[in-house]
Symmetry: C2
Subunit: 350 residues, 2 copies
């Protein structure tokens, strides 16, 4: 299938405004350049090697993936510096990780002895060398550990000939988490353990990175497309949002009830203020409910409803989860379809 | 890759208990047989031709899909009676619909003149014959129209040589919606328009179908796997739930904080009572938050945390949206992997 213009695309389709994406790439790279740190794009937002390549051409250093299966896709596409800021647990996964580490430079993170031990065993079995960072727990209280436990893990890593201690990772690396980072770095320094890399991440961390001079790099995904979450958090404006979902009105039988052909399979189920997406053409309409293939829009703020067949565009609440729903997405320059991207690392949960 | 037992599968993986699935298929078919109506499985729950085939072998009549692209997959797999209880809008989609209608029996639903006109134009252009039902709006106030407008649409359909008026559709067809259905049928009867099919649907409608003797068939999807939504609504028990997501504990560093390798990419983002899934092994733990690759579980109800590496199983809140996230799912008989199914119609939003 060839698509010359946006009008050739069915709905729902995920459209990427290439000018905005290019501007977002340039802005983020310039931000990291100004800070004197590396930018490591997290590919979770796009999952597409060609887009990561554009980020690298703009100056990015390596990439970050969340799962081994995603990293394999990007290694196959020629990326050779891949970070997995994730606890890789389970004998089959660690074996795949070790195999990958023999092909490209792989850096993982850990937050417990159990995770270190599993990866170390696989590295030993494969004769691989794996770079390893310790993760400090941050504001989100997700994965990560304390500075004291991080020191113990670092000692364990340093002592293993198949592991290479690479430094410290935090997510999110907001300024409020700096005391913990400083405590960990002080302990490592006292112990004489060299720290090559201090990896921060998160959209909110971009604007605070100057407050953490310890950082050597930032990992961010969403900043390439942005989304309604990002606008709501003050990270960007709607004019910076590069992704929109093109949808069609399929029913409009009552004064306030408009149904779109885009539901949770097209725009996912995350919400802001009870809304599942922001309608560009009708900012006061409320996309208040979704089923898999239906978006329910309350049009009570308007006197006239859009007609069946009318096309509307939705800024998603969260771009990363939208990309993961679609087999391909489309890069547009104006109305011209300039890129048809297969979402190569879509649905890779291992 | 071959998977002999469940222990060969990575996590997260979607597991289907074949005994429960077979029992669910038999129970639903028996229910419809007892009512003397047809069962038309909605494939949205599994999206897999081999599973639909098992439903047909048990006695089901045709299938229902939501989108033309899904119907194409099932037509290619040999299904020749496909209903699309959905307003198909847009020239490219209606053209594909008309092409499909020349290969297999296709029945669509409509709720406005605009939808009828679009499909009629495509049918005429292709020289196809398309069966068409009118949709009555039901309790969910989604798509559908009034009995009076349905009559007007039926007249319009009857008058078109490329369309065949097939009857009336409702979703959900709960007993409370019967007066509207009766009103529409009375109007059609007065007008001398024959109604071949009265198609009801929805999980809740199963137990109320005897209260709507007008129904000739039931379309239901979820009843093949069931889910936490269904248990909460009283449609089934946890012991009937055939789908679970196999997950691994990847972090457990604090008394109440356990992190799983399964987040919104594995179990989706729908909730019941603020929870994203039901942990089979720890019924009092609360899976209270997800990121794409992380599930946050509050274990404060337990004295001992599961260890990193421990496998747990999650009953999803909503099975249909989970299937759509995964490239393949696994059918288990006890611990043996008996089926590896590609989710053939996954991610088809057109």
């Amino acid at each position: 299938m060839t698509f010359s213009t946006v009008h050739d695309l069915e709905t729902p389709s995920v459209l990427i405004d290439l000018e905005r994406m290019e501007r977002n790439i340039a802005v983020m790279q310039a931000r990291c350049d100004a800070l004197g740190i590396a930018f490591r794009p997290h590919i979770k937002t796009h999952k597409i090697p060609d887009i990561a390549r554009r980020q690298q051409e703009a100056g990015a250093t390596g990439i970050a993936c969340q799962k081994v299966s995603e990293a394999e896709v990007f290694a196959d596409a020629g990326f050779n510096d891949i970070q997995l800021p994730y606890n890789i647990v389970g004998a089959r996964k660690t074996r795949r990780l070790a195999a990958l580490a023999k092909r490209v430079t792989v850096t993982v993170t850990v937050d417990s002895e159990a995770v270190v031990d599993g990866i170390a065993a696989a590295a030993r079995e494969a004769g691989a060398s794996i770079k390893m960072m310790v993760e400090l727990v941050s504001l989100g209280a997700r994965t990560g550990t304390t500075p004291e436990a991080a020191l113990d893990l670092a000692r364990r890593i340093v002592a293993d000939e198949h592991l290479h201690f690479a430094g410290v990772m935090m997510y999110p690396s907001d300024a409020a988490a700096r005391p913990r980072l400083q405590a960990a770095l002080a302990l490592l320094d006292e112990a004489g353990i060299a720290v090559e890399m201090v990896s921060g991440g998160g959209s909110g961390a971009i604007s605070q990175a100057q407050l953490l001079p310890e950082l050597t790099e930032l990992r961010v995904g969403t900043c390439i497309f942005w989304d309604w979450n990002s606008v709501a958090a003050g990270y960007c404006r709607f004019d910076d949002c590069a992704m929109r979902v093109r949808a069609t009105v399929i029913s409009a039988n009552e004064a306030s009830r408009v149904i779109l052909d885009s539901g949770s399979k097209a725009i996912h189920s995350e919400t802001i203020d009870g809304q599942f997406g922001y309608l560009l053409e009708y900012a006061n309409a409320r996309l208040h409910k979704v089923n898999e293939e239906h978006g329910y829009v309350d049009f009570s703020a308007y006197d006239d409803l859009p007609a069946v067949g009318e096309i509307v565009h939705i800024i998603p609440v969260h771009t990363c989860v939208v990309t993961n729903l679609h087999n391909r997405i489309y890069g547009l320059r104006g109305e011209a379809v300039e890129a048809v991207w297969e979402v190569a690392a879509r649905g890779l949960v291992w």
